[in-house]
Symmetry: D2
Subunit: 277 residues, 4 copies
């Protein structure tokens, strides 16, 4: 339904990642290869942490039109550098196209974005909203399943234990779905961050989950492609997680296994199994 991208690493102009690759996210907004829809033109968003340590929360720029023709996105991407940013392009399945339905969502220092859907969400929406912490309820601004999933995860401890909270959220969604007679309620790839670590999840109640890839370690890519000068400027820690590869360079892109999640952070990254709780 959507496509997204996480960048974490050596500070870059956003456009280096968003526009320059052969099959960049902007290109995917018109010509997605692996998505359910080839066009992702129902809004977009980016969220970035500024390089000033004293700005608590990330900047979030969200719009309702397509990413491919948005001049303001190109301006920002050409003038803002960040070492950690999210980007998302949306293909709506009927929910209103409005700024508050574009990803990423933000709460304090946290960001969240999602590709997939809760099957039968309209029928479940009330039950799921009721499970959101009452003190958070008023902060729900849009009408998407994705935002409700974020608030459920926040309710269930996202800020203390992201993998546990996402597992509990997924479990609740599945139980609620089953209670409403939905056999396979959940399709999700999710990225969330507190500005330091990034957690990326891939899961489906049934069958294949939406595609998700992560980039290889920079040193191993360099060894494969000693002639690609661009790679020399990147730290070892630099990592991308994407709905679909940004190009065809061999050895760069690895599929995130079904039912698993990865953690990107300073030090060793991790890849672990995921199951709803």
């Amino acid at each position: 339904m959507c496509r997204w991208l996480v960048y974490s690493g050596t500070p870059q102009l956003l456009e280096t990642i968003l526009y320059k690759p052969t099959h960049s996210l902007i290109d995917q907004s018109l010509h997605s290869r692996m998505g359910v829809e080839t066009t992702n033109g129902d809004g977009f968003g980016i969220g970035w942490y500024a390089q000033d340590a004293d700005l608590g929360s990330p900047a979030v720029f969200r719009e309702t039109g397509p990413a491919w023709n948005n001049r303001n996105l190109r301006e920002i991407a050409g003038h803002v550098r960040s070492s950690l940013f999210f980007a998302h392009i949306r293909a709506s399945t009927g929910t209103a196209v409005q700024q508050t339905n574009s990803h990423p969502f933000r709460h304090g220092r946290w960001m969240w974005m999602h590709n997939g859907a809760i099957a039968g969400f309209p029928a479940m929406r009330r039950d799921l909203c009721l499970a959101v912490d009452p003190s958070l309820f008023a902060a729900i601004e849009g009408s998407t399943d994705s935002e409700v999933m974020f608030f459920l995860a926040l309710t269930m401890g996202l800020e203390d234990d992201p993998p546990g909270a996402v597992a509990r959220m997924a479990g609740l969604v599945e139980r609620t779905g089953h209670a409403h007679g939905i056999a396979a309620p959940l399709q999700m790839t999710i990225a969330t961050t507190d500005g330091e670590s990034v957690w990326a999840f891939r899961y489906a109640s049934e069958g294949d989950a939406r595609s998700l890839y992560y980039s290889s370690r920079v040193d191993s890519i360099r060894a494969l492609h000693p002639d690609v000068s661009y790679l020399k400027e990147l730290s070892e820690e630099t990592r991308l997680v994407v709905s679909e590869p940004l190009g065809d360079l061999p050895g760069v892109w690895n599929e995130v296994p079904e039912h698993s999640y990865g953690v990107v952070r300073e030090g060793a990254d991790e890849l672990r199994p995921f199951a709803p709780a």
Copy 2:
């Protein structure tokens, strides 16, 4: 916070009512005289019943920018005729400026628009949403108090007994507000219609309610102003209900009394007292 207008009567081009009067609603979007804010530039909407009997529900055109510079509004207003239409200009008090927060709201044949506010709405939002009929909950698309009030009224019988349902909605809002420690929870002028009758309410929990006016009977205006040729084309049944008068012609505008509601319909119109139930 907002300004609105109801027209019911001889079929007119929308622009005759929306643009031509000296102090038209479009003029009020820039220069409101009686509103809490002089500028109402945070979105607008119109809703009209087409003159084809077979089209069940009204057309609703809603936007996020100001009415005064919207070319599409002017085009529609210059080419569409209707015998019953609503128009609304919004001044947000912080809620997102998005299409789904612009009035009028629609459900089947019904439309609804509101000026005013529920004091302390963020804290009450969850309780009020819970009181909405579960089968209607998924149809809430925006984040305004006004839309929740509409769904509460629908839950409480709007389609069968509009004054009773609005009274019950107002009662629930006041009780919920009091439970949250809000002394004066409700400020409202509301218009609602099923395409045949229009109900317009004016109420405040405390102090003056937002301004509301209705036009005099066409025959009495004609007697006062025999030289105004425009009036000759209007049926006796023609009536306007507006947040503030569209001009200064003496004898045309009458204040809706505090704590009352009016009914505009074929046959004799009515004006009655209103109290939350």
Copy 3:
């Protein structure tokens, strides 16, 4: 680059033509089969003549987002009837996405829309603008080649002799292009109307012109498809001209030959050769 549609005939709700066919123009906005681009998401417009004889000029509703997710378009299409309307979906090749660059363009009673391009337009823009009648110059609002072509045609007599004026415009564009070293300056399918007749042109300086089709006479379609009840309501005069067929019903769609133009009007329609003058 774009796709367009002309309807002329028995008054219809716009949605009957715009949304209901299998491969409707709205579907083409996401999945064009014959266009240079599959996605036409850079703005859209409709223009219709209201059924009131006293409204001189058509209504034009133009937007900057994609047609497929525009709720206001659906509202208008579901509530407005017309016997003559234009619709256009845009795929920009770099020119700004803004209302004044969306088609159809209007001047008095006249409308104009275009698919194609003037090769090398930026370099020729000044020369072509200088050829516009000085009294019309200030009315150019956007930055497209299409709008300049319209104003050139108006300058060259569109209102008196549409085929002649379009031929003179095309001739000027080709001469100007050649002077700028462009071998094949013009690609165009154009529709224009005064509210009574419609002229549709197909031409390219070199090679295949953009696709263009017209619907067969209603009586012949009826003879082929006696079971299609929808056809019974249509007058013999009803005609569609479209960038690509709206469906696969055999015998309905005929290609407009290269280098020709058609006239749709009360009485016998015509198809004639076209050459720049």
Copy 4:
């Protein structure tokens, strides 16, 4: 018609200047005190130079809605720092509300913004456009007088001699206006910059020019207000030029005299007389 602001000095978060002052530019968008219109809600723009020396041209973010409710503006303002930026809020006098008509305009490293109008511009537009260097003509994207003034100034040497070029542009506008029978063709306050110096002009062909103010030297403001801690962080070089003062602190704001221009740059700023050439 519009209001604008220039900041040059110690790097600041844009929000410090755009949102925090009592009578900030954002407040002026709703409640201008000195403008021809109190509401400036027909689009806005900001342009800033990033603090990376290697990014040649400034970022320009322009929108069509009001500044006061734009969430993306607030996000950018809260996360981007700059030592030189422009901001502009627009009140249209009829010209289309579109991104390409919002200020600031940009050409390479240069930015330009304007408050005022060319009287009788529609009639003069063609003559003025013809005077634009043919190689620049195709870069005109919008339909405002302000953008044409920018391209005329570029044609007449803005990049080499800004005061001379603006004087020649103003002279041409006045001569063209007089030729069209306009007695007082020009009203302007203009700001332009190459990223290092800023030039600000105030001029009217007749009568009072639009208001324009500059801030006092930081050391003299500090002497007057030793208790304002904020001032301690500002370099001596810091300077604001604004359509109307951002607050009421005595001794801070000085009117730019009629028919003069100022230069803000490293080293001593200047204030000089201005006359069309």
